[in-house]
Amino acid sequence: MNANQHLSGDERYTAIDRTMEQFRFEKDALLEVLNTAQEAFGYLSEDLLIYVSQKLKVPLSRVYGVSTFYHMFTFSPLGEHNCIICTGTACHVKGSDRIVQALEEAFGINAGETTTDGLFSLTTARCLGSCGLAPVIVIDGQVRGKETPESVTKHVKGVISLSREEQLVELEAT
C-alpha cells in the first residue's frame, strides 16, 4: 500500500491531499480544498469535513461555516440521474418555473431533493449563462435549450425507465 494513501484505501482522498500540498497546507486555501473534495466525492460528508479540518488545522466550525455558506457545496449524494433547471431571469421569463413544477409533480419530489430509489435528483441553478437558448436545462451534464415542461418530463422519464430496467436485470442476475 502506498504510504501517502488514505488509510481507508480510498483513492479520492489523494486528490484532496494533492490540492492541500499544492497550496502548502495554507489555511487560506480552504475553499480550493473543499472544491476538490466536492468534485472528488460529489458531496461533502461529515467525515470529509473532519478530514479537511484536521489536515489543514482549521477548526471544524470554520470548515462547516465556510462550506455551508456557498451554494456549490452539497451535503448529501445526488441521484443516479440529475436534472438541473436554470431559473435565471431569461429562463424565468420563458417559463422555467413551469418546467420545475412539472418535474416536481411527475416525480413527487421538491427541487433540491432526490427520489427515494436514488435514481433521480432535481436541482435548480441561478443562471447557466446560455440565456439565448432559454429555457435551459442540463440532464446528466448534457445541456438542452428551448425546452417545454412536456418535452423535459418525457425525456427524463425515458432516461430513468432505462436505468430502472438495468436495475431489474442486475437484480435478476444476482
Binding site: 486555501a29 431569461a90 446560455s130 440565456c131
Partner: protein
C-alpha cells in the same frame, strides 16, 4: 522574452494565417456549445480532414462568441479577397454542407496523418465521410442558414472589448499576439511611468463595469499612492447576476486581453501579485484563464521579469463557490482568503486595506478588458465614444422575449429603443414589449414610455434602475410585474449573507408582503408598508446587495403600480389577510 521576440512570434503567426485560402471559424463558447457546437466542430474537423486538400487550403478555427447566441451554433467562413459569410443553426449536417461548398476534395485517398486537432481517419472513414459530403453538397438548403452581416444586430454595435472575440482561438497565445496582443503592455513598460498610466486611464473616463461605475483611473491612483511593498490586483469574475454572461464570455473568448489589462494595472499601481476570482459555475472560463496564465508564464509575459524588464508580476486563480454577495469587493476579499464571503463596513476601502490588509485594486473583468485598447488607441479616442459622463462602450447580455438574443457591445448613450427594436429585432409573436430589466436583482424595470432614454450610468439610475454588470432582459406582456419583482426578491432572500439585519430580515418581510399581495390577500395599506420597507432596507443595509435589493420592487411600484392595485381591489377587503406582515 522581450518585445522584439513578441513581435517576431506575432509576425510568424500572421504569416501562417495569411497562407490559408479559407478559414472556417466555429463558435465554441458556452451558448453555442449548449446548442451542439461540440459536434459541429468535430464534424468540420473530420470532414475537412477527409477532403485531404492542400495544406494551405483551409483551417478550422475554434473561436469565441460571435454574438447572435439565439441562432447558435454559429460558423463563419472567411475567404481571401471576399467578405466573411456567417451561418446560423449549424448542426452536424449543415456543417457537412459547408465543407462540401467550400473545401475541394483531393482525388486520391491516403492515410491521414494526425495533425494537431483533427482526428485520425482510416481510408474507410475517409470514403465514408466523402460520400456523406457528396450527399450534403447536393442539398440546396445551406443558404437558408445564411445570416446577413449587415443586420442591425451587427451594424449597430461598436466593439472595443469584444474586438477579438469570435476572431481568434482563445487557447492560442500566438493568435492573440497576431492581433497586436500585449503591444499595449510592451508600450506601457517601455514608455510610460506608473503615474502616466493612471492618468491616461483617468483621462479616458473609464468607469468600473461591475455596476457601480467608480472612475477606474482614480481607483488606481489611490492604490498607487499607498506606500507599501506588497499590493494586489484582483480581477472580479464573480458574475452572479442571473441573465448576465458578459464577463464569462470575455474570459472564455479572449482571456489574454483580460490578463494584459491586469498586468498593466499591476504595473500602474505597483502590485506584484494578482488573483482572478472566477465563479465555480464557469468551468470553461477557469480552464481558459488557467491556460492563458500558463502560456504567459512560459513566454515570460508573467514572472519575475515581465517582458525582460525589472517589473515582476504573477497571477493565480481563486474559484468562487456560488455566492452572489461575493461580487461585493470586501466579501470577495474574504472569499479569496478562504473565509465565508461576508462583506464588511467600508471605509477602509480595499485600496487602503484589502487582501490580507494590504492595498488592493479590484476591477471587473470587462473593465480590465478595456485597458489594452485605451493604451493602444489613446484616452482621447476612448473618451470620444459615449456620453459626457459615461465613456466608452458597454457589453450587454441581451435576453428574454426578443427575436435576436445574445451578446452585444454598444456605445454608451445608445437608446433602449435602438437596443430592443433594432439590435434585438423586437418582441416575437403576439406579445408586446412591456419593460426592459437592467442590472439583474439589483436593478429595475424600465417601461416602454422611457425607451428613448440613453443608456448610461446617470440616466439609468434616474429611472430607478442601474447599469449593473450588463444583464438586459426584455419582458413582454405575459409577465406580471409583482410576480416578477417577487422572483428577484426570492433571489435576494436566498443570497443575503445574513450579516446585517435590514437585508437579512427586510428582504424576507418584503417577500412576505409580495406573497400576500399576489395571493390577493393584500390591503391598501400594504402597498404603503411595502414602499416604506423597501426604502428602509435600501438606506440601512451594509453592502450593495441589501442597498439595491429593493430596486426591482421599487421600480415596478413606480411604473406598474396599477398592477399591484389591481391585485388588491379584486378581493373583498374585510376578512382578507392573516395580519402577518
Amino acid at each position: 522574452m522581450n518585445n522584439a521576440k513578441l513581435e517576431e512570434l506575432a509576425l510568424k503567426e500572421r504569416r501562417r494565417q495569411a497562407k490559408f485560402r479559407r478559414r472556417i471559424f466555429c463558435c465554441t463558447s458556452t451558448a453555442c456549445l449548449s446548442a451542439g457546437a461540440g459536434l459541429t466542430r468535430q464534424t468540420l474537423d473530420q470532414a475537412v480532414a477527409a477532403c485531404q486538400c492542400d495544406e494551405d487550403e483551409v483551417e478550422v478555427v475554434p473561436t469565441g462568441c460571435i454574438g447572435l447566441c439565439s441562432r447558435g451554433p454559429l460558423v463563419r467562413v472567411e475567404q481571401k479577397q471576399q467578405g466573411p459569410v456567417l451561418y446560423g443553426n449549424v448542426s452536424a449536417e449543415v456543417a457537412q454542407q459547408i465543407v462540401a461548398r467550400y473545401v475541394p476534395v483531393r482525388a486520391s485517398v491516403d492515410e491521414v496523418e494526425n495533425d494537431g486537432d483533427s482526428a485520425q481517419l482510416s481510408a474507410h472513414d475517409i470514403l465514408h465521410f466523402r460520400s456523406s459530403l457528396r450527399a450534403a453538397g447536393k442539398k440546396k438548403e445551406l443558404d437558408k442558414h445564411l445570416i446577413p452581416l449587415d443586420l442591425p444586430f451587427f451594424a449597430k454595435q461598436v466593439r472595443v472589448v469584444l474586438t477579438e472575440t469570435g476572431q481568434i482561438n482563445p487557447d492560442k497565445l500566438e493568435d492573440y499576439l497576431a492581433h497586436d496582443g500585449y503591444q499595449a503592455l510592451a508600450h506601457v513598460l517601455e514608455n510610460m511611468t506608473p503615474e502616466e498610466v493612471c492618468d491616461e486611464i483617468q483621462r479616458s473616463g473609464l468607469r468600473g463595469r461591475g455596476g457601480a461605475g467608480f472612475p477606474t483611473g482614480l481607483k488606481w491612483h489611490f492604490v498607487r499612492q499607498e506606500e507599501h511593498s506588497r499590493k494586489f490586483v484582483i480581477v472580479n469574475g464573480d458574475e452572479g447576476d442571473p441573465g448576465a454572461y458578459m464577463d464569462r464570455t470575455v474570459m472564455e473568448d479572449d482571456p489574454h486581453r483580460v490578463l494584459e489589462g491586469m498586468i498593466i494595472c499591476a504595473y500602474a499601481v505597483g502590485a506584484n501579485y494578482g488573483y482572478f476570482y472566477i465563479r465555480g459555475e464557469y468551468p470553461i472560463a477557469i480552464r481558459r484563464i488557467r491556460r492563458a496564465i500558463r502560456d504567459a508564464r512560459r513566454r515570460r509575459i508573467l514572472g519575475q521579469s515581465v517582458l525582460g524588464t525589472d517589473f515582476g508580476f504573477d497571477a493565480d486563480i481563486r474559484i468562487g463557490a456560488g455566492a452572489f454577495v461575493c461580487g461585493e469587493e470586501t466579501a470577495l476579499i474574504h472569499s479569496v482568503e478562504g473565509k465565508r464571503g461576508v462583506p464588511r463596513i467600508r471605509p477602509p476601502y480595499p485600496s487602503k486595506s484589502g487582501l490580507w490588509g494590504l492595498p488592493t485594486v479590484i476591477n471587473n473583468v470587462e473593465t480590465m478588458a478595456n485597458i489594452p485598447a485605451i493604451i493602444t488607441r489613446g484616452a482621447d479616442w476612448y473618451a470620444a465614444i459615449g456620453t459626457e459622463k459615461s465613456k466608452g462602450t458597454k457589453v450587454f447580455a441581451l435576453a428574454g422575449q426578443l427575436r435576436n438574443t445574445g451578446l452585444i457591445e454598444v456605445p454608451m448613450g445608445i437608446t433602449l429603443n435602438e437596443i430592443v427594436h433594432e439590435i434585438g429585432g423586437g418582441v416575437p409573436g403576439e406579445g408586446e414589449f412591456k419593460a426592459a430589466q437592467t442590472g439583474g436583482p439589483s436593478g429595475g424595470c424600465i417601461p416602454s414610455t422611457y425607451l428613448d432614454a440613453p443608456v448610461d450610468y446617470e440616466s439609468l439610475s434616474k429611472l430607478g434602475s442601474i447599469m449593473g454588470s450588463g444583464g438586459l432582459v426584455i419582458i413582454d406582456d405575459s409577465t406580471l410585474m409583482p410576480e416578477f419583482a417577487r422572483f428577484f426578491m426570492d433571489f435576494c432572500v436566498d443570497e443575503s449573507c445574513g450579516k446585517c439585519v435590514p437585508c437579512r430580515v427586510g428582504t424576507v418581510q418584503i417577500r412576505k408582503l409580495l406573497d400576500k399581495i399576489i395571493s390577493g390577500r393584500g390591503k391598501p395599506q400594504d402597498l404603503e408598508a411595502l414602499d416604506k420597507l423597501c426604502w428602509l432596507v435600501k438606506k440601512t443595509s451594509l453592502c450593495g446587495l441589501g442597498q439595491s435589493a429593493p430596486n426591482p420592487v421599487l421600480s415596478t411600484l413606480r411604473y406598474f403600480k396599477h398592477e399591484y392595485e389591481g391585485l388588491i381591489q379584486d378581493i373583498a377587503p374585510v376578512e382578507a389577510g392573516n395580519g402577518q406582515v
